[in-house]
C-alpha cells in the first residue's frame, strides 16, 4: 500500500473483488462494517480481528446497503432490482420485494421502523421488513426522475434524483414531498448526506463540488446555503475535476467528510466553511465513506467508479500511478481533526 504505515489505520484484508458501492458501520458496534459491492456481495467484516464475518451473495451488483438500528439486520438493493433483508446472525436472506430497475439507495427509518429504497425506476418505496413479499410493500412514491441518492435524518427524507431534483419528505406524510427543489449544483448529483442534527444536508456533484443546504425555508436560513469546489487536481493540462462519490457526516461533531474519484478524502467544517483535514490519496478513487456511530472511526472504500470514460485519459492516469484496479477498504481512527474549530461557528 502506498499509504505508509500509519498506526491509526486498518486495511481490510479481504476486500471485495469489484467496486465498493457502500460502507456502513453497525449502529451498535463500531467493530462491524457492512460493505456492498459491485461483485454481487454484501460482506460483513469484523474489524477487531480484521476478518470477514459473513458474505451475502446477490444475483447482481449491489449498489446500496443499510443497517437497522438494532444491528441484527441489514438491507440491500442493487442492479437485480430486488430489495433484501439480510439476517446478520443466521446469514439468511428474505426478499422484501422489487423495483422495476436497479435499486440505487437503501436507508432505514428508525422512526417508521421501515426500510426505504430509491431506484432508477423513478420511485421510492417503503417496506415493512417484518413481512415478506408481497405484504412487505407499504407504499410507493413516484419521483420526477431516477433516484440517485437518499439519506434520512429523523423524520426527514431527502431524495436526490437525476435531472438535479431534490425531494424532501416528512416521513410521517409520504403522500407528497414537503419540499421540491432543484439542486443548486449545475451538474448531476452523485452523493448526498443529511446533517445529524436534522437541520440540512450536503450534496455532491460529478463536477467536484459540494453544496450545503438547509431544510428550514425561512430566508435567513436559506441565505446560509452555499457550495464549494473540491476534489480537483491541478495538472499541466488544466484542472481535472472529479466526481464527489461519497459524503458522510460525523455523528457527533456535525462536520462531514467527502470522498472523490481523485482518491482523496477531505473533512469539512461547514460552520466555518473550512477544510479541516485532507488525507493522503488512495490508490483508487474513493467510492464510499462512513463514520461509526460514536464518530471514532471512518471507513473508506476505495475503488474505481468507472467514471473515466476516455481511454486515453485512463492511460494517463495509470502512468501517473493511479491504480484503478486496486480495491481497498480502510478504517481510520478519527479524533480531533474532525472537530470544528471553536470560535468560528
Amino acid at each position: 500500500m502506498s499509504m505508509g504505515g500509519a498506526q491509526d489505520q486498518l486495511t481490510i484484508e479481504s476486500p471485495p473483488i469489484d467496486g465498493v458501492s457502500a460502507v456502513h458501520f453497525s449502529p451498535v458496534s463500531s467493530n462491524h462494517l457492512l460493505v456492498s459491492s459491485w461483485d454481487s456481495q454484501v460482506r460483513l467484516y469484523h474489524l477487531a480481528d480484521n476478518s470477514l464475518k459473513s458474505v451475502f451473495q446477490h444475483r447482481a451488483a449491489v449498489l446500496g446497503c443499510a443497517f437497522e438500528p438494532g444491528g441484527q439486520y441489514a438491507y440491500s438493493g442493487g442492479l437485480d432490482t430486488w430489495v433484501r433483508r439480510l439476517d446478520l446472525n443466521t446469514e439468511k436472506i428474505r426478499v422484501l420485494g422489487t423495483h422495476t430497475a436497479g435499486v440505487s439507495s437503501v436507508v432505514h427509518s428508525q422512526e417508521l421502523n421501515a426500510l426505504i429504497t430509491g431506484s432508477w425506476d423513478r420511485s421510492v418505496k417503503l417496506w415493512d421488513p417484518r413481512q415478506g413479499n408481497p405484504k412487505s410493500l407499504i407504499s410507493s412514491h413516484e419521483q420526477p426522475e431516477r433516484v440517485y441518492a437518499m439519506d434520512i435524518v429523523k423524520n426527514t427524507l431527502v431524495v436526490a434524483t437525476a435531472g438535479r431534483r431534490v425531494q424532501i419528505y416528512d416521513t410521517r406524510n409520504m403522500a407528497a414531498p414537503a419540499q421540491e427543489r432543484v439542486s443548486s449544483l449545475k451538474f448531476g448529483t452523485s452523493s448526498l448526506a443529511c446533517m445529524p442534527d436534522g437541520s440540512g444536508f450536503a450534496m455532491g456533484s460529478v463536477e467536484g463540488r459540494v453544496s450545503v443546504e438547509f431544510f428550514e425555508e425561512t430566508p435567513e436560513v436559506q441565505a446560509r446555503k452555499y457550495a464549494f469546489k473540491c476534489h480537483r487536481q491541478v495538472t499541466p493540462e488544466g484542472d481535472v475535476v472529479y466526481p464527489v462519490n461519497a459524503l458522510a457526516f460525523h455523528p457527533i461533531y456535525g462536520t462531514f467528510a467527502s470522498g472523490g474519484s481523485d482518491g482523496r478524502v477531505a473533512v469539512w467544517d461547514h460552520f466555518s466553511k473550512k477544510r479541516l483535514r485532507q488525507y493522503p490519496a488512495f490508490p483508487a478513487g474513493v467510492s464510499a465513506l462512513a463514520f461509526s456511530a460514536e464518530g471514532t472511526k471512518m471507513a473508506i472504500g476505495a475503488s474505481y467508479s468507472w467514471d473515466v470514460p476516455d481511454q486515453r485519459r485512463r492511460e494517463e492516469l495509470k502512468e501517473r500511478g493511479d491504480e484503478m484496479e486496486t480495491i481497498s477498504i480502510v478504517v481510520r481512527d478519527v479524533g480531533e481533526e474532525t472537530k470544528p474549530k471553536t470560535g468560528n461557528a
Partner: protein, 405 residues
C-alpha cells in the same frame, strides 16, 4: 484493456512460501520437504503440528518456526495440509492476485463451472441436417427475436420484475421438444455457443459455497473446468453446423439469432451495449466468433449466481433465463451541462447519467431474471424467508469451514 480469455487456472499453492504446484500431491511433497522437515534429524512430518510435537517429544526442544516460510506465516498456529487449512483471507487474496496477474475479470475464477451439456459429436446425418435447417429457418423467420425486448423504460404494466421478454423467445416453435434454454437448442450436436452453457444457472449454484468452505474441491473443480475451456472447441462448429444456412453479412446477428442471445440486448442498443466490456472506442460490431471479445464465461457466471437467495428459482425454466443487462433508462428531465471554464477537464461529462448507470450496462454485470419469491401466508413467509434450501446448505457449510479453520 482486452481481457484475456478465461485461461486462469488456480493451481495448488503453498501457503508458507506462495509457490505454485502442478497438483496437490507435489505440493504436499514440497511442504514435507521444505517446511515440515525436522532440523535435528532426517525425519519429515506431514503437518506443522506434527513437526512441533515431534520436536517437542523426540528432541525435547521448544517449538520452532516453520522453515522457508514467508514472514508472518512461519508460526505453527495454522494447520496446513496441502491446500487444506489456508486461512480464508489469504486464499481470497491469493485468488485476487492471480486474477489480476492473469488479467481476468475479478471474481471470474471463483466458480467451479457448470457441467457442459453432453454433446454428441458424430457427423450429422442428412435427416438431422434437414431437421436442423428447418428449425433454424423457423427460428429466423418465426420470431423477430431482438424485437421481443420491451422498450427502454424497463417497466412492465404489471409491476412485475423486468423480464425482457426472454422466456417467450424459448417458446418459439422450432424446438418444442427441447426444454427451454439455449445450450440444448440444437439436439444434434452443434456444440453450444461459448457462453450458452453459462446460462444454465442452477448448475452454478452453491459455487460460492464451495469456494469459501472447501478450497481443495473448488480448486480441483476449477482446474477440471479450465482444461475444458478451450476456445477451439467453441465457435467453429457452431457457426458451420448451426449457421451454415445463414448468409447474412452480419454474421454476428445470425449467430445471435441462433443461440437466442438477443434477449440480452437492450433494444436498439447493441452497439452501446458492447462498448462496455471492450472499452470505449472499440469497434461496436465485433466480428463473429471472436471469443476473446467476450468476457470470460465465468465472468458472466460470477456475480449473478445465487446460492443464497431466499426463494431460489422455483422452476428450471426461470432459472435458465439468460443473463442480460437492463437498458439504460432515458432521462425525462433532460439536462445539459453548462459550459465549463476553459482549462478544466471534466472527468464525467455525461449530464444525464451517472457513472454507475453506464457501468451497469457492462456485460460483466448482466444477470438472469428469476421470479420474485412470493410469500403467500405468514407460515409460508417463514418458510421462504428462513428455510430456503440453498441458504440452509450454505449456512451449515460455512459454519463447518469456520470450525475447521
Amino acid at each position: 484493456m482486452a481481457k484475456k480469455k478465461n485461461k486462469l487456472v488456480l493451481r495448488p499453492w503453498c501457503w508458507y512460501c506462495e509457490r505454485e504446484f502442478e497438483d496437490e500431491k507435489v505440493l504436499m511433497q514440497h511442504q514435507k520437504a521444505k517446511h515440515y522437515k525436522c532440523r535435528h534429524c532426517p525425519r519429515k512430518l506431514n503437518t506443522a503440528g506434527g513437526l512441533a510435537v515431534h520436536i517437542q517429544q523426540v528432541h525435547k526442544l521448544d517449538p520452532e518456526k516453520i522453515e522457508n516460510a514467508l514472514p508472518g506465516r512461519d508460526g505453527g498456529e495454522v494447520e496446513i495440509f496441502g491446500m487444506e487449512g489456508i486461512p480464508k483471507n489469504d486464499a481470497e487474496a491469493w485468488k485476487r492476485r492471480k486474477e489480476a496477474e492473469a488479467g481476468v475479470a475479478a471474481g471470474s475464477t471463483s466458480q467451479p463451472q457448470a457441467k457442459r451439456p453432453k454433446v454428441d459429436k458424430k457427423p450429422l446425418s442428412d435427416v438431422e441436417l434437414a431437421a436442423q435447417l428447418a428449425a433454424h429457418k423457423a427460428l429466423m423467420s418465426g420470431s423477430d427475436v431482438p424485437s421481443v425486448n420491451p422498450t427502454a423504460s424497463g417497466t412492465t404494466s404489471t409491476g412485475a420484475p423486468i423480464v425482457y421478454g426472454a422466456p417467450q423467445t424459448y417458446a418459439v416453435p422450432p424446438a418444442p421438444i427441447q426444454p427451454p434454454g439455449p445450450p440444448v437448442a440444437f439436439p444434434n450436436g452443434a456444440p453450444p455457443f461459448p457462453d450458452g452453457r453459462n446460462l444454465n444457472v442452477p448448475l452454478h449454484q452453491s459455487c460460492w459455497t464451495s469456494r469459501v468452505s472447501s478450497i481443495p474441491s473448488w480448486n480441483a473443480a476449477s482446474a477440471r473446468f479450465s482444461s475444458r475451456l478451450d476456445a477451439s472447441s467453441w465457435l467453429p462448429t457452431t457457426s458451420t453446423g448451426g449457421c451454415a444456412s445463414s448468409s447474412n453479412q452480419d454474421g454476428w446477428s445470425s449467430i445471435s439469432g441462433h443461440t437466442e442471445w438477443p434477449p440480452r440486448f437492450p433494444s436498439g442498443g447493441a452497439a452501446a451495449w458492447w462498448s462496455g466490456p471492450t472499452g470505449p472506442g472499440a469497434p461496436p460490431h465485433l466480428p463473429p466468433g471472436t471469443p476473446g471479445s467476450f468476457p470470460p464465461p465465468a465472468a458472466l457466471a460470477s456475480g449473478s449466481v445465487n446460492s443464497n437467495d431466499a426463494g431460489a428459482p422455483p422452476n428450471p425454466r426461470a432459472s435458465e433465463s439468460p443473463r442480460k443487462v437492463p437498458p439504460l433508462i432515458a432521462p425525462i428531465l433532460e439536462q445539459e451541462n453548462p459550459p465549463i471554464k476553459s482549462g478544466t477537464i471534466l472527468i464525467w461529462e455525461e449530464a444525464n447519467h451517472l457513472p454507475a448507470e453506464k457501468r451497469a450496462q457492462d456485460l460483466k454485470y448482466a444477470y438472469s431474471d428469476v421470479p420474485l419469491p412470493v410469500e403467500q401466508s405468514d407460515e409460508a413467509a417463514e418458510i421462504v424467508g428462513d428455510a430456503a434450501p440453498a441458504t440452509q446448505a450454505r449456512g451449515t457449510k460455512r459454519a463447518r469451514a469456520e470450525d475447521f479453520l
